[in-house]
Amino acid sequence: MKINNILIANRGEIAVRIISTARRMGIKTSVIKTSAEPAAMYLSLADNVYDNTENVSEIPVFLDIERIIKIALDTGADAIHPGYGFLAENPYFAQKCVDNKIAFIGPSPDSIYKMGNKTLARKIALANNIPMTIGSDGKIPSENEAVRIARRIGYPVIIKAASGGGGRGMRIVSKEEDMPNMFRLASNEAEKAFSDPSVFIEKYIENPKHIEFQILGDTKGNIIHLGERECSVQRKHQKLLEEAPSIALDDQLRKEMGQMAVRIASAVGYYSAGTVEFLFDSEGAYYFMEMNTRIQVEHPVTELITGIDMIEEQIRIAEGKELRYSQKDIKFNGWAIECRINAEDVQSGFSPSPGKIEQIIMPSGDNIRVDSGVQAGSVIAANFDSMIAKLIVYGKDRKDALANCKQALDKVWIKGTKTTLPFFRMLIRNPRFLDGSITTSFIENELTSYHVNSEYEEMLAAWLATWLFVEENLDESNLKINFEEAKNISPWLLNKRISRH
């Protein structure tokens, strides 16, 4: 079945990203205009814009399954690409697409369900001999039960949302007295984020690296992996920088872990693009963490080192075509690094810093790719995620990529909101990051400051503050007070004022 018109049920940079591949493939795209950002960049690039600004609903459109299906039918779309996010990992939505004879560009509802339910996923992994951390056998009904299980596993443990992903609903608990409170928090957050309060507990691996494998599978049962990505630079489970490949793996381990990733994907009859995440401890042991059944934010680093357009493969697979590559066709060339430039204030703990992008100039060049959904004038709204742009840099090896990255970061120009740039400028100079030895606890446990400290820049800022003070207060020539014009009052008014007093 040939796909002719894709409804992109997402916004921001991923919508822009999907449009660019679809256009190259000669496929029309439809996007949805919302009242929250009626002038967003992705709208100007699509072939067809569905205006949803008049729709008043409690549920934002990108979370509204029935609405999206209706829009797809209205726009005559024969396929939906959900991007990443809520719709991408919702088996009910995928099933709805199937029911309405719309191709869902992603895996089957069944694989989404099996991998999306973390307790079920653990069972499947266990049955397939995938290395795993010890943990609770299923959902945990109560605080007391949580305390009991954690005592059995031994602290530290991690609480995770059963239907979760992406860090939300996760809590690390290192001592028993914190357990009841943390359990409530995690459950509460899981309920908020995924409408499912159930959580489970696992042994917490201290100071691991985060290594994930990209896999691709078709509907004919062929599954391959496209190598790994290392995403150890993360804060509170939010990834900030990703690279491919990982410095921690050799060819042997890559092959072994890749096979594990393929094995678990096969176990659920997986097709389309997916990611199998592992924790990798200091001894070189690895543990299956979870599988994300969608395209990932960090997919471009894999694309750069394999030369494969993952969105294109997703679309071809959704058309029912067979994979064009077998495992031996996959070659890894060079090194790629992605920096997530978000509207966040690193100096106050990466808190969101919404605002209007006044100016944005991103670097360009042979070794640079920028995926972005914003342009000058775009608003980073408080009700969406804080992504401004992904800066993806390529090099022939890690050292080369790091050097290119450092240069590229200095060329980024963004005005209007605070950004994560000072963090990356610090990171790219940090010896622990440069030698590749950092783990996921690096940011929280090892850094005392999250931003670059430049003595000269601080001095310049001090001068600027002083200059502003002088301009505003001491430079009398700046305040041109005119007392004469004030005395110029029309006789009509003046006489009346005087006669009243």
Binding site: K192, G349, M459, W463, T466, F469, V470
Partner: protein, 173 residues
């Protein structure tokens, strides 16, 4: 006043930078002086040209003698002091001790999900105070100091705007 002050200081925490008046548009590093140019154009917005480099600059706050400046994406908060006000500051901090109270301001607009402390709760630096939902994220607001919660101004489901005082904490040493 312009003619009376000979020197001003930009103060940030324990850091102090002195500038003689009238203020020249240069900064000296070692023996060399580097000219500072403040410019603005459509493509870049406001920026500073210094040492052959273009630095993005935004004035985030300017209030009395307090300035928050975002230079090259890093924010700096300075107060501008005269030699006398600097001495006065030293006297006052000796007299009254350190800043006794810490106000926890909402870092962004959002909704309070949960308040984890009560009035009178003893709390240590880094411990969670409350959960604020904004930008689709539940943000844990952590305590920046060691102290005792003296006021809780928010409750769950309440919306806050940026810089709302959510909690007040008396700092203990």
């Amino acid at each position: 006043m312009a003619t009376q002050q000979k020197k001003l200081y930009a103060l940030m925490g324990k850091k102090k930078y002195g500038f003689s008046l009238p203020l020249t548009e240069t900064i000296r590093i070692g023996k060399r002086k580097y000219k500072i140019l403040i410019k603005e154009d459509e493509k870049h917005g406001t920026y500073v040209l210094w040492k052959n480099r273009r630095y993005p600059v935004e004035i985030l706050q300017s209030r009395q003698n307090k300035f928050e400046i975002l230079l090259n994406y890093v924010s700096y908060s300075f107060t501008i002091e005269t030699p006398f006000s600097l001495k006065r500051k030293q006297y006052l901090s000796k007299e009254m001790g350190q800043v006794e109270e810490e106000k926890i301001l909402a870092p962004m607009p959002g909704k309070i999900i949960e308040v984890l402390v009560r009035e009178g709760t003893e709390i240590n630096r880094g411990e969670p105070l409350l959960i604020l939902e904004a930008m689709k994220m539940q943000n844990e607001i952590n305590c920046p100091v060691n102290g005792i919660v003296t006021a809780v101004n928010v409750k769950p489901e309440v919306n806050v705007v940026k810089d709302d005082v959510m909690l007040e904490i008396r700092i203990s040493q």
